[in-house]
């Protein structure tokens, strides 16, 4: 929050429309979220010409008030209203805080044409017994009747609510820093506030010793004032703090806050008499305790920085002071601390203790050491002026701060290249002046020094380009395209594979879904078909997002359940995503889940239900498309959470690359089928396509059925048939599977039609029969099968 009335102390903006100024500032990169103004229309200075008691009341007065244009009769209940008093008059039409509109009215039968106001009624003071009893605001007698009251009182205020990007968080959130920003935009100079004091001869060094015993405090200044009179703050300080949203406590505490809002430098005031005569800044000791200003006991650790009196902590540096050295109404002598602490350390401490304050936030963002010094001088000045303090000479100082100036050497051509603009050396000079960056210029080269208040700027020409660019206005940039060689962009190989498979699955009617990588331990523990350990996050946000999944099946099942519960029929979905195991090895997986009908037309009675063989068909479709024909097979495996009898491993080149199966009835009662394949395994080399002419000689088809043990797979049988069939066996097609009464219980009958042919001749019956008999022979001998219907 920035108070523009306050900013006026440092830069002349009296000619500015503050709403328009806000737009200019926002365009230059300092985002003003909101312009808040407390101006109230129809509020003028008036003079009470006549004041009589209300005929029908013991406390109301009937006044005649000169408002400049008119003399109005106004009824007023304040005890302090009297003839000759200059007052604030709310004329009819004025809207006071709380959306309270002033209208002509009758009060106990007497006409009243407005209201004489107290400050709390205008939202300028807190409403409490004290302010209420004070009555209406008594305007200085020199005030001119009829003028705008808020403007006259200097209460007419505009506030900017900022939403500034992180890097400008430090210098834009105090009034002097913001004044420099306005200065850059309007090309005006900033004047720093008065900070001279009249120190007495007595030197602080006689009373105090300072030691800093940590590298987390590079800069520490201390000054001492005596004979402080704690009391009320001057009006302007109270008003400005109130507008900022801080409560006025007393002149001493208020000054510390006031200076912080001027220079961005938090100060800490110790009661010198309870502090003693030593300051030692050091890292806290593990388990060390301090009672902070809020009365809470805080336990510290060695990452915290503490201010001590040489022995015990008196302040958690940058975070909160200790109760033991607090400034009270009785305080007379004060030690003022103005210091820089390690920002990261302060952030960590305030986060850990859940103690965030205006001060700790500012320490956390970093400070300008020049202002550390300015702020302590300014505080002394204000204490001298407004708290009757006597300032001692000398400053205790610990100074290990890096004061190397940041210098950038550049040519304006570099800026032009970076921004794509053309500005001259003279233009750049103007811009640097506006920014308040001192520079030297010789032979077309600039040497600019970055002021310490701009902590965000690094000594690179890019940083200068940004400053120049934002003042030049990014809206003034032209659009060009990079002058780079024309080339074709492409998907990286793994992306291409993912795209190909994804597109194929969609063509096959599956919908792509997107689910979370982080799952619950319960989800992670399901469908573990691989010997993989899982990553459990050391600090998860919640238990349901605490494990990095190694399989997508659980996630897809969740999507299935959601859709089923919302009455979506036939959920057929897939996802391709990366998985990670406990060795952080990445494996991309493609997972499919199918259920319900794959193809249907009810009135026609067409109904292809999803079953194992259908999802197997989908998997084969992918594998065939990728060119793996004859290189893959399905092998019966058992996988937890899949149906033990309806489940297979997908083998490519004899290596298991995934699973396929029906979800175990204990997981879901619905018929749900899933398959998951490793995408990495699918990114496998395939042979180039070769043309193959169709058979030109007749085919001989022979059917055969075997009765065989139930646990022998068809694949195994076909393997034997193919080996025995040799070159002449062109195709083996299963056309019937039978189990039942006609054969024994542990057997099944598999019937195949075998196609024989040759590429170079017509086969004769004898040739075919020789092979056919060989097949029967091999199958019966090797697999213990019998020919059916012999």
């Amino acid at each position: 929050m920035i108070d523009l009335e306050w900013v006026k102390d440092y830069i002349d903006i009296s000619d500015q429309d503050l709403k328009e100024l806000a737009v200019k500032i926002t365009k230059a990169g300092i985002n003003i979220e909101k312009v808040i103004t407390n101006h109230i229309d129809n509020l003028v200075i008036g003079e009470v010409l006549k004041c009589d008691m209300h005929p029908d009341s013991d406390h109301l007065h009937v006044c005649l008030v000169d408002t400049g244009e008119k003399v109005l009769q106004i009824v007023c209940g304040a005890p302090n209203v009297k003839e000759g008093l200059k007052v604030i008059v709310a004329l009819p039409g004025a809207i006071l805080p709380g959306n309270f509109e002033i209208k002509k009215s009758k009060i106990r039968g007497v006409e009243s044409n407005g209201m004489l106001c107290a400050l709390f009624e205008l939202g300028l003071e807190e409403k409490n017994d004290e302010t209420y009893n004070k009555g209406i605001y008594e305007v200085d007698s020199s005030a001119k009747v009829g003028i705008d009251a808020m403007r006259y009182l200097g209460l007419d205020d505009t506030l900017y609510e900022l939403d500034v990007h992180k890097h400008r968080n430090n210098d834009c959130y105090y009034h002097i820093g913001f004044a420099y920003e306005i200065g850059a935009i309007l090309n005006r100079k900033v004047t720093l506030p008065y900070d001279k004091t009249n120190p007495i001869k007595d030197d602080i060094k006689k009373h105090f010793s300072l030691k800093v015993d940590t590298d987390k405090c590079p800069y520490y200044l201390a000054k001492m004032v005596t004979n402080v009179k704690v009391g009320e703050s001057p009006e302007f300080i109270k008003r400005r703090l109130t507008a900022y949203g801080m409560r006025s406590i007393n002149n001493v505490v208020d000054i510390s806050n006031y200076v912080m809002l001027e220079y961005g430098q938090p100060l800490h005031f110790f009661d010198k008499d309870t502090l003693g005569d030593n300051i030692l800044v050091r890292n806290a000791i593990n388990g060390e305790e301090i009672i902070t200003l809020d009365g809470q006991k805080r336990v510290l650790n060695s990452d915290d920085i503490v201010i001590t009196d040489g022995v015990k902590p008196v302040c958690i540096a940058g975070v909160m002071g200790g109760e033991n050295t607090e400034v009270t109404d009785k305080t007379q002598n004060i030690l003022i601390e103005s210091a820089i602490f390690d920002g990261v350390s302060i952030r960590n401490t305030s986060n850990r203790l859940d103690l965030k304050s205006e001060a700790s936030i500012r320490y956390g963002k970093g400070l300008n050491f020049e202002y550390t010094e300015k702020a302590i001088e300014r505080a002394c000045h204000l204490l001298e002026k407004y708290a009757g303090a006597t300032v001692l000479s000398g400053t205790l100082k610990h100074d290990k701060i890096d004061k190397t100036p940041k210098i950038v050497k550049f040519k304006s051509s570099e800026i032009n290249t970076l921004l794509g603009i053309t500005i001259s050396d003279d233009d750049v000079k103007v811009e640097l002046d506006r920014l308040g960056f001192p520079f030297e210029y010789a032979d077309g080269e600039f040497k600019a020094t970055i002021p310490f208040r701009r902590l965000d700027i690094d000594p690179y020409v890019n940083d200068i380009a940004e400053e120049v660019g934002r003042l030049y206005g990014y809206h003034n940039l032209v659009s060009t395209l990079p002058s780079v060689p024309i080339k074709k962009g492409d998907y990286a190989p793994d992306v291409k594979y993912r795209k190909i498979i994804s597109k194929r699955l969609r063509t096959l009617g599956l919908n792509e879904v997107k689910t979370y990588t982080l799952v619950s331990p319960k989800m992670a523990s399901k469908f573990k078909y691989e010997d993989k350990k899982q990553v459990v996050l050391p600090k998860p946000m919640s238990i349901d997002k605490s494990v990095i999944r190694t399989s997508l099946i659980s996630s897809l099942l969740k999507v299935y359940e959601y859709n089923r519960d919302h009455k979506v029929e036939s959920v057929n979905i897939y996802e391709i995503a990366k998985t990670y195991d406990a060795s952080y090895t990445e494996e991309s997986k493609v997972c499919m889940l199918m259920s319900g009908n794959y193809l249907s037309n009810e009135w026609l009675g067409v109904n292809v239900k999803v079953d194992f063989y259908l999802i197997k068909g989908i998997v084969q479709n992918i594998l065939d498309y990728l060119g793996f024909k004859n290189r893959y097979s399905f092998e019966k495996v058992e996988v937890a959470d899949l149906h033990p009898g309806i489940c297979a491993g997908v083998m490519l080149d004899k290596k298991m690359i995934g699973v396929i199966g029906k979800v175990h009835p204990l997981i879901t009662k619905d018929d749900v089928y899933v398959a998951e394949l490793s995408l990495e395994a699918l990114m496998n080399k395939v042979k180039a396509i070769k043309f193959k002419a169709a058979l030109k000689f007749p085919l001989v088809v022979k059917d055969i059925a075997f009765v065989i043990d139930k646990d022998v797979t068809s694949d195994k049988l076909v393997d034997v048939i193919k080996k025995a069939g040799g070159k002449l066996l062109m195709d083996v097609k299963l056309f019937d599977v039978y189990t039942g009464e006609k054969i024994s219980k542990d057997k099944k009958s598999l019937a195949y039609s075998l196609t024989f042919a040759s590429y170079d001749r017509t086969l004769n019956e004898d040739e075919v029969m020789t092979v056919f008999n060989k097949i029967i022979n091999e199958v019966t001998h090797k697999l213990g099968a019998e020919l059916r219907d012999k």
């Binding site: 290249t417 380009a465 780079v484 990286a492 600090k539 946000m541 979905i573």
Partner: protein, 346 residues
């Protein structure tokens, strides 16, 4: 004259013919062994030789005429039968088709593909990178040293100590690309993918989301080049009438940094609830690659310059399709996603 009668009799008979069987009967009556025409041949023997020839010719003519008549009739009846059959086979073409389902892409993937396709045509490669990433690549090389305040905003899921994390942005892929380029080759790439931050999931936050980031490193690249590139992307996604603007911004890995706005396509810039009455919607951030980042990744900032930009895939989709809840993308309600199964006019 006998002959003429036969032909008119035949014609009369055929008038009454209805079925193929009738045709056979008529055929037998005239052309059968004892048929009226066949039996004429037996009269030949009673004729003189010179008459035989002309009579024979007459009979032959008669026979072929009769055959033609019969064949015509036969064809006629066949076509009648076929027509009847076809008539019977006629269907109600309005009955429902057997639906050949087509799957819909994830909205986010669709959005990403849309941008990828455009950028590939401009020479950008589309690259994937790991989601479990080194802190070094996710932060440090990108000018976000440990303790940098901007790290707070990207509150991160750490996986192992403070070394491995779930990437909070896709920018580490850019780092990897530059490292692979060894400071020698120009770079033009995008790296769409998943990212993770510690946010509670609600309508506007998601602990998992997708970014589409791009990087171009070459010689003499300027911020104006980024503006032109952004213009092309914005117009591709939101139409030719889409206006763009740059605003100053801050990212640790770019300098200067900009936020990129498009004119609100909903109100055409007049101001509405979607653009919060500003007429503009922020869709992207970017800027000139920070010289420290170039240096870290082995590219000499004196020789090379480049720009980087990033979009949120969710945000793009929300704006483009009028989706107002982030959770839509991860709930996967098929009733919603199926809308995206079709091609879109571009």
């Amino acid at each position: 004259m006998d002959l003429e009668n036969i032909l008119s009799d035949l014609k009369n008979d055929l008038e009454n013919v209805k079925t193929m069987h009738d045709v056979s009967e008529v055929k037998a009556k005239y052309l059968g062994k004892k048929g009226a025409i066949t039996s004429l041949y037996s009269k030949m023997k009673d004729l003189k030789d010179d008459e035989k020839k002309s009579f024979g010719a007459l009979i032959n003519n008669l026979k072929s005429e009769a055959t033609n008549l019969l064949d015509d009739k036969k064809e006629n009846i066949e076509s009648q039968i076929l027509n009847e059959k076809l008539q019977n086979e006629s269907i109600d073409i309005s009955l429902p088709a057997t639906e050949i389902k087509i799957g819909a892409p994830s909205i986010l993937e669709k959005m990403i593909e849309d941008v990828s396709t455009l950028l590939m045509s401009m020479g950008y490669d589309v690259i994937d990178g790991p989601e479990v990433e080194k802190d070094e690549y996710n932060f440090e090389m990108l000018n976000l040293p440990k303790g940098h305040p901007a790290r707070d905003a990207q509150d991160t899921f750490y996986v192992l100590g403070d070394e491995l994390l779930l990437r909070s942005q896709t920018s580490p892929v850019q780092v990897r690309s530059m490292l692979a380029g060894e400071g020698k080759v120009p770079i033009r790439m995008i790296c769409p993918g998943k990212t993770y931050r510690r946010d509670d999931d609600d309508a506007t936050h998601s602990h998992q989301f997708m970014q589409i980031e791009g990087l171009l490193v070459d010689k003499n690249i300027s911020l104006s080049d980024l503006k032109g590139t952004f213009d092309v992307i914005a117009k591709h996604l939101f139409g030719e009438e889409c206006q763009t603007r740059f605003r100053p911004s801050y990212y640790p890995f770019t300098e200067p940094s900009v936020e990129m706005d498009i004119s609100c396509h909903h109100c055409k810039g007049k101001g509405c609830a979607i653009c919060k009455n500003t007429g503009w919607i922020t869709v992207s951030g970017g800027g000139m690659v920070h010289p420290k980042v170039l240096e870290n990744c082995g590219y000499d900032p004196k020789k090379w310059s480049g720009f980087a930009f990033g979009f949120g895939a969710e945000r793009l989709a929300m704006i483009k399709y009028g989706i107002d809840d982030l959770r839509v993308f991860y709930t996967n309600d098929l009733r919603e996603s199926r809308v995206f199964e079709r091609k879109e006019v571009n």
